[in-house]
């Protein structure tokens, strides 16, 4: 489908803003982008059908996101000494579905991630955002699915939201 270019532009802007909040470690503002029952999901395998009958790298509701963001700020979060720094690049933004309730946006991402004293690492994959709400000012994330290209590979720990 070819979406309204202005809407595509607004969706891209929304994703760029989200990336900015993540890079800025502004977890609370980031979390506020989610709908009340919004979910954050990073599958463990390609084409994973559901997060219930198969393990995932992340599957977090508002409560678990709240614990993660609070832990990142804890004084004795040993693995955040020093903190993780990231730079997100989001591209290829496309609206792939749209109906009265909202829209589905697909994009590709690259994240450069670094902690002092550790190797810098590159992460890449695809985002699928299910956005609900009447218009760009009102959009909330019902589901953010992050498909890492190496989701089923050997992993180093993940600390921050991707």
């Amino acid at each position: 489908m070819i979406a309204d270019p202005l809407l595509t532009h607004a969706a891209a802007d929304y994703l760029f803003r989200e990336a900015e909040l993540l890079d800025g470690r502004r977890w609370e503002e980031w979390d506020a982008l989610f709908a009340e029952d919004g979910m954050y999901w990073v599958p463990l395998r390609h084409d994973q059908q559901d997060p219930f009958n198969h393990a995932s790298l992340f599957y977090e509701d508002a409560i678990l996101r709240d614990v993660r963001r609070r832990r990142l700020e804890e004084k004795h979060a040993w693995s955040q000494q020093p903190v993780t720094r990231t730079a997100h690049i989001v591209g290829n933004v496309r609206i792939v579905a749209q109906d009265g309730a909202g829209l589905r946006v697909r994009s590709a991402f690259q994240i450069t991630e670094w902690r002092q004293g550790r190797d810098q690492r590159q992460l890449a994959g695809h985002y699928t955002h299910d956005l609900v709400g009447a218009g760009p000012d009102d959009w909330r994330i019902a589901l953010k699915r992050v498909d890492l290209i190496n989701c089923d590979g050997i992993q180093d720990p993940y600390e921050v939201f991707l």
Binding site: F52, A55, L57, I63, V67, R71, I154, Y158
Partner: protein, 436 residues
Amino acid sequence: MTDDMLAALVRPDKVHKRVYTDPAIFDLEMERIFGQAWIYVGHASQVPKPGDYWTALIGREPVVMVRDRDGAIRVLYNRCPHKGAKLVADGCGHAGPLFRCPYHAWTFTLDGRLRGVPFRQGYADTGFSLDDPEFSMRPVARVAERRGFVFCSLAEDGPGLEDYLGGALASIDNFADRAPEGEVEVAGGVMRVMQQSNWKIFFENLNDTGHPQATHESSFAAARRTVREKLGGKTPFQLHIIEGNGEPNSFWESLELRCYDHGHSYMDAIFNAPTDAISLEYRDQLVAAHGAERAQAILSMNRHNTIIYPSCSPHTGFQQLRVIRPVSIDRTLVEIFTFRLKGTSDAFFQRTISYTNIVNSPSSTVMVDDVEVYRRCQEGMASDGGDWISQHRMAGHDTPFEGGVLGAGISEVPMRNQFRAWSAYMGPANIGKAAA
């Protein structure tokens, strides 16, 4: 390194840092420990049909576990006897009726015997023979299975699997007994996490009751703040399993640490059986299958991590199995499997999935701090700041029993017990005993 030098690295209450930092010692461990002990390979449910295979690393040896035509499970070195190519790709798959090498198409029956080679005429009068085992895939020396859990030993002799496991055998039995149908199956995928530390550091942490309060403070403190500020004081299941590490000293001191010969041990469970609807339904299923008394006995064997030295650790309460594959002196791969108890509901299995997502995933807010401190140990040990690693906590207070030693709550007896096994394997009696 002479045997006297090796022996001097382990004292009753401390060990020399070289056991974690010297690559020559890692080489010896691969030969004398991983070349002899019973090492976990995989679970029978991963190869349900003839021709299904699963690959694993036994020390440094890549092996393939395969279901043979007669239903038996074979464990073969994943190596073609022609030019040495690995016959199957890492992971799982289906070989069909025969293994077929990707390089020159030699074929092998599922027990590894050479079945055919192309260009047969070229082998006339060369000393090559289809029947010569030199041209077949080599089977590992010994394979044994317990309730579907498959172990192998690369050494011809040594104790049998059951004698080797001693009191840890009950953890495997209990794992399967917890299923109403008495059987478990691997389900839900496998996670793989690389740790920048020696494999022994991971094992020592599993029954280290002294670390949770310190290491996991960030996650249980965050969980408590969420409970207080967002949930009106109610702790849901997901936060309960994070919060467990924040119990007070008196709790950790009250736990039993039971150690067995050959390095195995377990600690008492740190979670009581939940009493929500899903858990109660499960309990009813178990009672229906086994009767009330037997069901109670099964559930009351509530062990937290069991250490099956030196290759895996089952967590029976949440149906997890962590498999430890040493890669080098300072790198360790941990594979995390979840199991379904046959005869239980999807909702019950989803609890298992939830536990692995929250506690064992590479994104776990609990485990990241473990992995961080392991790495700091590895980096600190390499320094000139000192030579010895202390294992003094409650040293000299261990109570021996037939087949093992018992320690209380915060004792470092599981570590001392592991080094007792380590010394026995690495000692002079074992030199040259590993399979060639």
